[in-house]
Amino acid sequence: MNPIEQAIVWLNDPLNWTNPGGVLDRLGEHLYISAAAVALGCLIAWPVGLWLGHTGRGGGAVVLISNLTLSIPTIALLTILPLTFLGFGKPPVIIALAVFAIPPLLANAYTGVRQVDPETREAARGMGLSGGQVLRRVELPLAVPYLAAGFRTAAVQVIATAALASFVNGGGLGQIISAGFGLGMSVGGGQILAGGLLVAVLAVLVEGVLAVVERAVTPRPLRRTRGRAARRQAAPVGKA
């Protein structure tokens, strides 16, 4: 049997889905870890990015943070954090993934506020809006498409990174692949391929769904401009 047939057989076995540690369990873990990491990343990166963009300072720092995290191997954080005071379990994994979610969120929030037309900002100030009001009522709404683009990039990145959590027994769909490698190619070949397929489909699916969301929250006049390309280019994204 070639690996593809093996993979089909593996995917067709209902027990592989419903067993403890089966696909459904792992999918739940994967989504939980990813959602928590992205939420944590948003909680940190968005306020900071919006504020830095509003004051117009810290652009260099944003670039520096993006480039630095690009060079940190995911596995390093995943192995180091459990050995600190955080202890084993899900928290270190979630924090490690959040670290990789922050650069796209931060850079896009910053760029989103910076790209607001200065005349718009001036007009808002002229109408008597305070700094905080300008940020809340003018800059934030105009930055929403950028925030959505950053969210999409970060979420896909985290889904991919979460697969690596299996290296440190952190759960998620990657666990199926790792277990398959543990079994060896002749026995686990199908399982490896099936696990890879599940992870890839999940990533592409999330990317697709969030692309629709991004489009939905982008006001109509902004959709068909070159802004979209610019939004996706706001930060170089690490690969995991």
């Binding site: 940190i72 191997p73 596995i75 390093a76 180091i80 690596l164 290296f167 592409v204 690969k239």
Partner: protein
């Protein structure tokens, strides 16, 4: 003795990490001295895999970007395909490749590395080519340059900043990505990181691998930035 065995069992059961203390420092010169050969071998493997991946990717990416540049209808499909491929998590890609290439073959890792580096380079090279000013292209046409001559003498030199950005991004992200190969034992410094984790959480080994990995990325990035500065003397001051 049996007492000790019992306590390490509880640690394995996932309670809390109990190895804090002087026995397991985060960094130790003694570890580096005693294992210098292993460390250097890992560093060499890491650098070799990175270099091979980046060079192969560059050789393929350049013609591909030129094709996308010359034949405009192909630009969309090439970029869309590369976007979808880039979405696929590295672990999944490794799972697709390994059953066919084999788990005892570093080529499994290399294929995944080349693919991701390729996508970064195609995108950035194309962006660089598209930034060539229309006037320069018109002038070249008026001076009687043919298609190939214009590409070699006008377009590619002017696109150099974009090309170099692509190579730098690809190199840095490849250095971090090589570590994923440690799943099948060809992860360069990633083998140290994961090996340290599996070897009773040997912190010195983990951190040495991490530091060297980040260091390698920074050194290569600076090196490429320097080469870029030498190659594009006209861009000094405007390019980082």
């Amino acid at each position: 003795m049996s007492f000790r065995g019992l306590s390490s069992l509880t640690v394995l059961a996932g309670e809390r990490f109990a190895y804090e203390g002087p026995g397991n420092p985060w960094f130790s010169w003694r570890y580096v001295r005693d294992n210098s050969e292993t460390i250097l071998a890992a560093l060499r493997e890491h650098a070799t895999l990175t270099a091979q991946a980046v060079v192969i990717a560059a050789v393929v990416a350049l013609p591909l970007a030129v094709v996308a540049y010359w034949f405009r209808p192909l630009t969309g499909p090439i970029l869309a395909l590369s976007g979808v491929l880039y979405t696929i998590p590295s672990l999944a890609l490794l799972a697709f490749v390994a059953p066919y290439v084999g788990t005892t073959n570093p080529a499994s890792v290399l294929i995944a590395l080349v693919l991701y580096a390729l996508l970064l380079m195609v995108r950035n090279t194309l962006a660089g080519l598209n930034q060539v000013p229309e006037e320069a292209r018109d002038a070249a046409l008026g001076m009687g340059y043919g298609r190939l001559g214009r590409l070699l003498r006008i377009d590619l030199p002017l696109a150099l900043p974009g090309i170099i950005t692509g190579v730098r991004l690809a190199t840095v992200s490849t250095v971090a990505l090589v570590t994923v190969g440690s799943l099948i034992g060809f992860g360069g410094l990633g083998d140290l990181i994961l090996g340290g984790f599996r070897n009773n959480f040997y912190k010195a080994e983990i951190l040495t691998g991490t530091i060297l990995c980040v260091g390698l990325a920074l050194v290569l990035d600076l090196l490429l930035a320097g080469i870029g500065r030498l190659l594009t003397p006209w861009a000094r001051g405007s390019v980082r």
